[in-house]
Amino acid sequence: MNTIALVGNPNSGKTTLFNALTGSNQHIGNWPGVTVEKKEGKFKYKDKQYNVVDLPGTYSLGAYSEDEVVARDYILKGNPDVVINVVDATNIERNLYLTTQLIEMGTKVVIALNMMDEAKQKNFEIDLDKLSKELGVPVVPTVASKSRGLDSLIEKAIEYAAESENPKIEFSFGDDIDKEIEGIQAILDNSSLEYPSKWIAIKLLEGDQEIFRLIENKGPASIKERLVFLEEKATEYELEIVDKRYEFIGKIVNKAIKKPLEIEETRTDKIDKIITHKYLGLPIFALIMFGIFQLTFVIGGDLLGGYVATFIEIIGEQVVGLLTMIKAPEWLLSFLSEGIFGGVGAVFEFIPLITVLYFFIGILEDTGYMARAAYVMDGLMRTLGLHGKTFISMIVGFGCNVPGIMSTRTLDNKKDRMIALLINPFMSCGARLPIYLVFIAAFFPKHGGIVLFSLYALGIVVALLIGKIFSKTLFKGESSDFIMELPPYRLPIFKYVVRDMWDKVWDFLHRAGTIIFIVVSLLWILSVLPFGVEPYSQESILGRIGTILAPIFVPAGFGTWQATVSLFAGIAAKEAVVAILGMVYAGVSEGSQLVTALQGVFTPLTALSFMVMTLLYTPCAAVLATVKQETKSNKWMIFMAVYPFVIGWIGAVLVYQVGRLLGF
């Protein structure tokens, strides 16, 4: 046995458990655009290696949202040896609802009864043996945040997985439904569908659209005939099935758990009185966001940024010096100093900033504030025809638009989801930050925080406006109602916030080392060809391409071939914009810094319009690929590539023309 899957409700501490299990010795396959849907890690126990798969947090395993489908498909098709179901001990009834569905699937389930410390604090008395006996599955108490109970959990899971048969509780949905299930099961038993037949039967009676589709395509004829009949039955039985599950849970909870009658006001209640306050909620939210950008700028930029820049400069000089000594060819020196150190190096200088930003977003996520942000924003969002949860995907987009777009999966209404997905790239991601920082350093050194905040705010405003337009044109109809859990506030665990942050920074480095390296190398080649031209001159192939396209940007004030080339390179990856500017301008003004070079060719006004363009225009290739994957449509991918470009262009032209009229 070697694969363990983790399932559980959102906020049940599932990811904390994953982190605690895999510790520092993990490999997380969480590259944006590849698999954000499930995280994989490894751990060793008694000299044997095990894989752990962290599935998305869900309340149920229906087909309500994509997350639920991902989770259930993995459990049924990924063949994990055992499923660990993380159950929040302070909220057992609702958490066990998911458990009943795992039991229905016939998988081997071990319950990690998590947050036992909080349950104790609330004076819950839980009889673990009784709970385990009634549910028919092992129950192990844990406190994942303090790494308590993990060894016994692993031990139990391994032991349980090795057992040849798993004693299960068969619970009844009542005579009518049970009979119906048996009937369907009898027809399905000989068919070769990839799911257990009893489970399919239950899902059909629940009216699960995914399963109906599966049967329509692959089911035996004898069941296809009955689909219309079953659909009718489902409307009758769907809610009864849910009720029966809760009935089953209710009986168990009555036997195994004693709760105090009076619940005291918790710390969370007190904090929420202020944070979600009618009038204070929004200003507090704005203040928090503003604070984060200021701190990011001060800590990541002013305090740490300079060191990395100096470090890269010194290394660059050393390497080039060494190569000159051994008489390396001229082209290699040029490639290294301008292409690699000038280009890729320029990207690396911004790692401290991005690190700090990721750190703060991680804290927002882990404390539980994110859900409150969605709550306080719901009113405002609703007047725009958008759903409050859209705002969470927008904040996640500040880090990177790929997970931002992935997080729109929690929006269950197609209209809400498409709008949230399409406006996400206007949220300025970490990779665009370096662009602003270069220009801020060159033109607005004293007002960095304000300029940065205004750009991010502009991104939000544009996103909301476009969202409003979409909700009136492309996606008409009612926005679905707001339903969201507000998890208790928890102190973030520093270790895990840092680890998560490091994963994201590592991803950034990974891209800098691959895509950006390739783009930079390619453009370097174009910049020195045809042979004999002055490198980085307008006569090079790069210069000629840029010159042809540059007139597009004349109305925006930066119609130079250099700016044009850098913008188009940015569609491969946003980091490339700075890298290319570094290359082409370091070539123009020999040896001097990019910042000084920019001061020579841009004005504060054109710098501003250029920043607005980079904020709004076509998102990077990874985002476009994600849009294709999430919408399963080329059409939307192309739309996503084109419409932001138009909006970015309009924005940049407006800034430049209005600025000129005002006399800047």
């Binding site: 769907e238 809610l239 619940i263 209640d269 929420d272 709550y375 306080v376 109602d481």
Partner: protein, 74 residues
């Protein structure tokens, strides 16, 4: 006792879920989120925007439109 709508409950008032009318998809979701029959519920906030409910210690924000479909008994 008559069942009344969740939105008519004031802050800190308690009740038991009796019935949910309205669209089936949302109805099932509400059940799955813990608003099942006879579950006890306390209204934590009900002034502006979505309601905040306390379902045995678990906080749930619920849009006003949906909340008006949820009938409770004191």
């Amino acid at each position: 006792m008559d069942a009344k709508s969740l939105v008519s409950l004031k802050c800190n008032e308690c009740g038991r879920i009796k019935e949910i009318s309205g669209g089936c998809k949302a109805k099932k979701r509400l059940l799955e989120l813990g608003l099942y029959n006879n579950a006890s519920v306390k209204v934590v906030k009900n002034d502006f925007g979505p309601l905040i409910l306390d379902l045995s210690g678990n906080k749930l924000a619920l849009g006003r439109g949906l909340a008006s479909h949820v009938k409770v008994e004191n």
